[in-house]
């Protein structure tokens, strides 16, 4: 089973697949050109404490996105995975 969450809601170290870039054309183009677009698998490497930036790794690419942008990147994550991490 999968669930859709934003990058901000993901746990540090959790993996997911980009489902949608929920923003305007300029935002979508910019994020896509930097390497994130629907279908890309990534891992959240750090983030979002105190409204700080989120960092993700996708293959050889590592990006830092501000909190607002990160909240507009939606991903599919395995539901079990999140539970397992806390178990």
């Amino acid at each position: 089973m999968t669930r859709t969450v934003s990058l901000v809601e993901m746990d540090e170290g959790q993996a997911g697949t980009v489902r949608e870039l929920a923003g305007g054309l300029a935002f979508v183009r910019r994020i896509e050109a930097m390497g994130l677009r629907p279908g890309i698998a990534l891992v959240k490497t750090s983030g979002s404490a105190m409204w700080g930036p989120v960092t993700v790794r996708a293959g050889n690419i590592q990006l830092a996105l501000g909190h607002g942008m990160a909240s507009r990147v939606l991903l599919d994550v395995e539901i079990g995975e999140k539970g397992q991490r806390h178990a």
Partner: protein
């Protein structure tokens, strides 16, 4: 003349390729956005000369920020026989090809340079070059620009470049790219290296912030050690042992007094030369830039350039993002400010990496007011250091508080939007000695150009003002402010005037006044904050323009009086 345009994503090494092709060195660093304005040079292409242009990095020809717009405008003006060299990060083929496919649709002679080829090996990537050439319809050259591997081959291919005849469906570009990458690239799994683990750890708030504190403390300690070592063992003895006797002989030849003696040698202190206090062109005028300031500037740029080339700075920017937002900037704003700690001029110029006018204005004002450059810092350490931490701590704490308060005020007052950070974080790389040495050399040459003439002008001005009696008059006129508000002796007015030219000379002028602890602290803080030096002033006038400069000046003078006036600083001194 034919033109060769180097085009590629940010931070793929275009500037290093430019250096290799032209022999003209431009500053390259391991973070995106180092080249915001383009650079031109020349190279030989067969029998003729061609102009090489280092185009600012862009991810796409559908521009999303200022630097990218510059790149797109330059490509719009391209002639039929101009050559596009698309510099590609071989370890990120998929992202790079997005730009490649947009570029080749323009049907200009084009070559793909597969840079960072050496890194594909330890990242487990295999690229089938002939297959890639067939898929793109372009000549592709593996390249390691920092070592020079593949440069000759690339130059030959530039001479033979032809437009691609392959057509792609631009509306379904990512699918086309996915298909090509699937055909030409094989990725083998490998275990995580130590550097990769460190890479992830250094970006998390914990332990990242502790690592950052460690890196910065170590950096300042190394700068101090190298700076002190050079002064204590090399330049100090050189001036005292070799130059002082020459100056004493010259002093004798000039008769020990008179206008020229004053101008060249200055005042003798206890019958001898005091390089810190004599204030002659050949004594203090040479000693301040070469022996007091240069060692620290050299040490600072050596350490900073090393850290830059490892790729640590974007990580620091991410960690500092929260703090920087309080002053109306985002994390990347920390980079120009860090550069400003060396010299405010390159710091102010580096604010170009910020996207909006508002951010550039705030960053520049913060650099000019409360970011002490190495020249100023080394003189402050020399002057206030005799009081130990009791003298130094209040000065730098006051400057830091001023930085925070003024930043907060500016963030609140200056209208405009405050974009969020969006930055590609490069992998850690071990700095390349040749590139590092060149960058250090460029920055030292910049220091000589910006600093030494102004130090001499400052010393000259001091002498003219003293000799003409203007200094005494100014002291009396400025007394209500200097003595009344700041509680400094009237003579300090001279330092404030000279401070318009150079802060290091101005701080040096406080030395003979025999100031107490409190006066030293106030003097140093006011001199730091009240106005930028003339070189920084020129950049601020040119970059954001006269109106913004005027606004910044009001903030500066106001905050200098507010910060230096009340006796709070004195209380801080007594407290420590």
């Amino acid at each position: 003349m034919r033109r060769v345009l180097l085009v590629g994503n940010p931070n793929v090494g275009k500037s290093v390729v430019f250096d290799r092709l032209t022999g003209v060195y431009v500053v390259a660093s391991n973070y995106p956005g180092t080249t915001v304005e383009f650079t031109r040079g020349r190279m030989r292409l067969g029998a003729e000369q061609a102009e090489v242009i280092d185009v600012p990095g862009t991810y796409s020809l559908e521009p999303t920020c200022a630097a990218e717009e510059v790149a797109v405008r330059m490509l719009d003006g391209i002639a039929v026989d101009d050559v596009v060299v698309n510099v590609v990060d071989s370890t990120n083929l998929e992202r790079s090809l997005n730009l490649t496919l947009q570029l080749l649709a323009r049907r200009r002679p084009m070559v793909v340079a597969l840079n960072l080829w050496d890194e594909t090996k330890h990242t487990g990537i295999e690229i089938d070059v002939p297959k890639l050439e067939a898929a793109l319809g372009l000549s592709c050259a593996p390249l390691v620009a920092v070592t020079g591997m593949g440069v000759k081959d690339l130059v030959e291919r530039i001479g033979l470049a032809r437009p691609s005849m392959v057509s792609f469906d631009q509306a379904r570009r990512w699918e086309e790219i996915g298909r090509i990458v699937g055909e030409v690239q094989r990725v083998t799994h490998r275990h995580h290296t130590f550097l990769e683990r460190f890479r992830d750890a250094s970006i998390r708030p914990f332990p990242g912030l502790f690592i950052a504190a460690g890196v910065l403390l170590a950096a300042f300690e190394i700068v101090r050690l190298i700076g002190e070592g050079l002064i204590g063992y090399v330049l100090g003895p050189l001036f005292e042992g070799l130059w002082a006797p020459v100056m004493m002989r010259l002093s004798g030849l000039l008769g020990g007094s008179g206008f020229f003696h004053q101008l060249l040698i200055g005042d003798l202190v206890d019958g001898g030369i005091s390089f810190a206090e004599s204030m002659g062109l050949l004594t203090t005028g040479l000693y301040v830039p070469l022996a007091a300031v240069l060692p620290y500037v050299f040490a600072f740029y050596l350490v900073l350039s090393f850290i830059e080339d490892t790729g640590y700075l974007p990580r620091l920017a991410v960690l500092l993002d929260g703090v920087m937002h309080r002053v109306g900037l985002h994390g990347m704003g920390a980079i120009p400010i860090l550069l400003g700690l060396g010299c405010n001029v390159p710091g102010a110029l580096a604010t170009r990496i910020m996207e909006t006018r508002r951010e550039r204005f705030i960053a520049m004002t913060l650099i000019a007011i409360a970011t002490p450059c190495m020249a100023k810092t080394s003189m402050i350490v020399g002057l206030a250091g005799r009081f130990g931490a009791a003298g130094l701590a209040p000065i730098f704490i006051a400057l830091f508080l001023a930085w925070l308060v003024i930043g907060k005020l500016l963030a609140w007052l200056v209208k405009g939007e405050s974009p969020e950070i969006l930055v590609d974080i490069p992998p850690y790389r071990f700095p390349h000695v040749r590139a590092l040495a060149k960058k250090l050399w460029m920055r030292m040459a910049g220091f000589f150009r910006e600093a030494v003439p102004w130090v001499l002008a400052g010393v000259l001005l001091v002498n003219v003002l003293y000799f003409s009696g203007v200094m005494r008059l100014m002291g009396r006129l400025a007394s209500p402010v200097v003595r009344g508000v700041l509680s400094l002796p009237d003579e300090a007015a001279g330092a404030l005037v000279v401070g318009f030219l150079r802060k290091d000379v101005a701080v040096g002028m406080l030395a003979p006044l025999g100031l107490g602890l409190r006066q030293t602290v106030v003097g140093c803080v006011v001199l730091s904050m009240y106005f930028p030096c003339v070189a920084t002033f020129a950049v601020m006038l040119r970059e954001p323009g006269a109106r913004d400069m005027l606004k910044a000046s009001v903030v500066m003078v106001g905050s200098a009086l507010a910060g230096g006036g009340p006796s709070e600083l004195g209380d801080v001194c007594r407290g420590t």
